[in-house]
Amino acid sequence: MTADVPGMSEGAKVSPFRDPKIRALFFQVLVIVTFLAFVYYIADNTITNLEKRGIASGFDFLSQNSGFDIGIVLLVDYNAQTSTHGDVLLIGIINTLAVSLSGIVLATIIGFVFGVLRLSNNWIVNRIAYVYIEVVRNIPLLVQLLFWYLAVLLELPKVRDSVKLGDSVAINNRGFYFPSIVPDSGFWLIPTAFVLGIIATVFVSKWAHKRQDETGQQFPVFTTGLALIIGLPVLAALVSGIPFALEYPSMGRFNIAGGWVIKPEFMALFLGLSIYTGGFIAEIVRSGINAVSHGQTEAANSLGIKPSVTMRLIIIPQALRVIIPPLTSQFLNLTKNSSLATAIGYSEIVAIFAGTSLNQTGQAIEIIALTMLFYLTISLIISVFMNWYNKRIALVER
């Protein structure tokens, strides 16, 4: 409320209770006092309760031995006998990030495909996309996750009856098995070539942009980039005499040994999150494209630009401005929703850290605080990045 209300200006005599400035001050002091009293009440109760239960506060528990096994461990070594609750936290973070990032990629692809299909002139294609969107958006994610996990992936054939594609791929209710890469000496060349390919592509695209600005000539950046990013590692592999071996998954007596496996827990979460979020992204993409004036398409047509180029260079860039902000929220939602993994036994932060570790140590406050801090950080990073991107593509006005 602004203070300058006519009739209450400096000259007029006003009772202090009716002065907006004093009222605002009084109200704010009241809020502060209530808030502090509330915090004090909670803190006091918590301290008393924790003392009664004999739980020490602090973060010492992070270096204590965890003593439980974790179903899915990526990138780091973990051993129930020697690893600590700190390691559990780390694994939880890695697993959450792994499933969120891969989910974001697939969900974006699904979303863009169905969002564009939803606008197709072809009636049947259009309806299929509509049904997909309305079905996945209106069924709780948890139901979909349990469906994928318990009704689809765990109902796959048993190990003995695995579905096989030659020697290299085997699918059963314990996971999807692929050949793994066993590096020899000289393997470092391949990832190095891959990174070089990406860097070279960035330079090529900058150079091509500049050349187009100066001469108007276009350069096939996409194909060149693809050739560089895929071609260079292949070339490196051939030159250095293929410095790796493939290890095929082989049928043991009780289980499949060797190779690389995607566990059903990860698969269910990955599929469920991507398909669910994809439905929401599709609607965002559709409304974004619809928001671009139809005159833009007509103008492009009248200039004789091919429809595919119109879409890529004229419609999508303008639609992105409308799409990016809600898309950011969907990415955040997907990351937060990965916490539903608790229900299907994928080892992400909420399941193993805020679940098992909390039950074992009883350090509720520290653990919940760390978990929330993790999500806060992620949210912040994603929004900062997306806001940066949003600003970059935003319409530049005078």
Binding site: W123, F147, L150, L376
Partner: protein, 366 residues
């Protein structure tokens, strides 16, 4: 001799190929060779998927019988759902008392109809009934008292519990959200900071962690001996969570209003609360109705998460059922059933919100 026609030529109908069924087909399905291929492929896929779904749920499904042996397993075995229907609907609520829930449904349906439909013009009394009197009736009806046998909340479950969770949280979240949204736009820095802090903190973390916090930490926050039951703890978590989202929705509505509305109200001498209550909020809430319904749909779907903290909502009851050793291997049926129930509710609500949006728009739409 005049060769110029003096009278106007009668208007010709458009070519046959552009009208009627054929025109529609040509335009929508076979406009080019690419479109034709797309149509054929898509039609095949759609036919296959639709047939498989109908075959599984209806044609090859079993409806009759009482045990798992009555299932042929060619399609869905709905015997399973049929046998557990009471539990799926009411949880462990004593069978003799289930009429109370049904009465509650009927009373609620009447209230909803009066408030939501087109037929009643003055919404004052229906709203008073639905938002003040009905919750009080429901409390005594469902929980007990006034001569009704007390049914502990630990016995509540199934679809009933899902509906209780959703409606109580929205009932708390909407006013709380409005207050938070007003606080966020307040010119008093302290009030604004408290509201922004709450909203952003809650929105940044997953609902599960809020539910965990409510179920693990709420007992720690309260003086010893005071203990809420599980349901209340879940309700606190869900309400706070949805209030934060609701606040942002309402804030959007508030932002959409031109500043002139506030200024006009002030120039008429209305105070802050009068301005808000009579001028700003009615307009802002009307603008945000579609988003409020969407938030409610999200909340309704999120009630399933109470499974993780051990409450027996619709999903948990069915999940527990699929793990019963007499009914093993029927997970698909269970989840398809839950999915259909939720879909009907959520799709219905989203249609309603579209209908309402069209009804309420007062000609300012571009």
């Amino acid at each position: 001799m005049a060769i110029v026609k003096t009278e106007r030529h009668p208007e010709m109908p458009p070519p046959v190929t552009t009208t009627g069924v054929i025109g529609w087909l040509r335009q929508n399905l076979f406009s080019s060779w690419f479109n034709t291929i797309l149509t054929v492929v898509a039609a095949y896929v759609a036919y296959k998927a639709l047939y498989a779904f109908i075959d599984f749920t209806i044609i090859s499904a079993n409806f009759a019988g009482t045990t798992r042996d009555d299932c042929t397993l060619d399609g869905a075995c709905w015997v399973f759902i049929k046998q557990r229907f009471g539990q799926v609907m009411y949880g462990f609520y004593p069978e003799a008392e289930r009429w109370r829930i049904n009465v509650g449904y009927v009373l609620g349906a009447i209230g909803l109809f009066l408030v939501l439909s087109n037929y009643v013009k003055n919404k004052k009394w229906p709203a008073l009934y639905l938002f003040v009197i009905y919750p009080i009736i429901c409390y005594f009806l469902f929980f007990g008292g006034f001569g009704l046998e007390v049914v502990e909340t630990s016995q509540w479950g199934g679809l009933f519990l899902t509906l209780v969770l959703a409606s109580v949280s929205i009932f708390v979240a909407l006013p709380l959200g409005i207050i938070l949204a007003l606080g966020r736009r307040s010119e008093m820095p302290v009030v604004r900071m408290v509201c922004v802090g709450f909203i952003e903190l809650i929105r940044a973390v997953p609902l599960i962690s809020v539910l965990f916090m409510a179920s693990v930490m709420l007992p720690l926050f309260l003086p010893e001996g005071q203990n809420f039951d599980k349901l209340i703890r879940a309700l606190v978590g869900m309400s706070l969570f949805s209030a934060a989202y609701m606040a942002e929705v309402v804030r959007g509505g508030l932002q959409a209003l031109p500043k002139g509305q506030t200024e006009a109200a002030m120039s008429l001498g209305l105070g802050y609360w009068q301005t808000m209550w009579l001028i700003i909020l009615p307009q802002a809430l009307k603008i945000s109705i579609p988003s409020i319904v969407n938030t409610f749909i999200g909340l309704f779907k999120d009630t399933t998460l109470v499974l993780i903290i051990g409450l027996f909502d619709l999903l948990s009851v069915v999940k527990a059922g699929t793990q019963d050793k007499n009914w093993l291997g029927l997970a698909t049926e269970g989840y398809v059933f839950v999915a259909i129930v939720f879909w009907v509710f959520c799709f219905g609500m989203s249609r309603y919100s579209i209908w309402l949006e069209n009804k309420l728009h007062t000609g300012h739409k571009r």
